[in-house]
Symmetry: C2
């Protein structure tokens, strides 16, 4: 009497098990920066230094860490131009683009929430 929508199928992702797609999604984009990074990359391909400017309140280390994980998870492309000084461009993969509708809703919902909250 408890298997209504997701039934008994467990999902596996990076050696962990998840009962629900929501948890998989959060594992992929639930950190402090990933969703925003994807959102920005959805607007345009960006170099590492562009991202640094956009996310000026984080460190290079955090950015590269998050980008590496997004890349491993197949959501982001990393293109290195063999030149000096280096040039590296980040963009969304096909799969990365499929998450856009969620980000859009999250963006609107959060903004509405903040506005409503401030009026109360």
């Amino acid at each position: 009497m408890q298997q209504n929508q997701s039934a008994a199928e467990l999902m596996t992702f990076r050696d962990r098990e998840y009962k629900c797609g929501i948890d998989v999604t959060l594992a992929l984009v639930g950190g402090k920066w990933k969703a925003s990074i994807l959102w920005h990359l959805a607007q345009e391909t960006m170099r590492f230094s562009d991202l640094q400017r956009q996310f000026s309140d984080t460190t290079r280390k955090m950015l590269t860490q998050q980008l590496r994980e997004l890349e491993m998870d197949g959501l982001v492309n990393r293109k290195v131009y063999p030149q000096v000084p280096p040039k590296v461009e980040y963009s969304l993969t096909e799969q990365g683009r499929t998450i856009f509708p969620i980000l859009e809703l999250m963006c609107d919902w959060g903004r509405n929430y903040a506005q409503a909250g401030n009026q109360a």
Copy 2:
């Protein structure tokens, strides 16, 4: 040349500032349990003990903590019946229900991702 969609307006929520609605949304439901809790409550009102059964891999402490925060944030109702043994029912508020479309998308997207990933 950088203000395309969210412009210069900062959002405030619980003494913190956010540049983007996405970050607000993640602050509200981005933890390890909150999104799932909302998802379950969207299906039906539940007593605390029901939630404990559904989330058998977490502790009472975490559950109450998350529920309290969701309540403070206006997403969840807590109704106490004055009887012994106690009976407490949790349900979504109006505002809590507005997040349902996001959760639905997240559920589908995560499930698709997990399936596709397992075939690769």
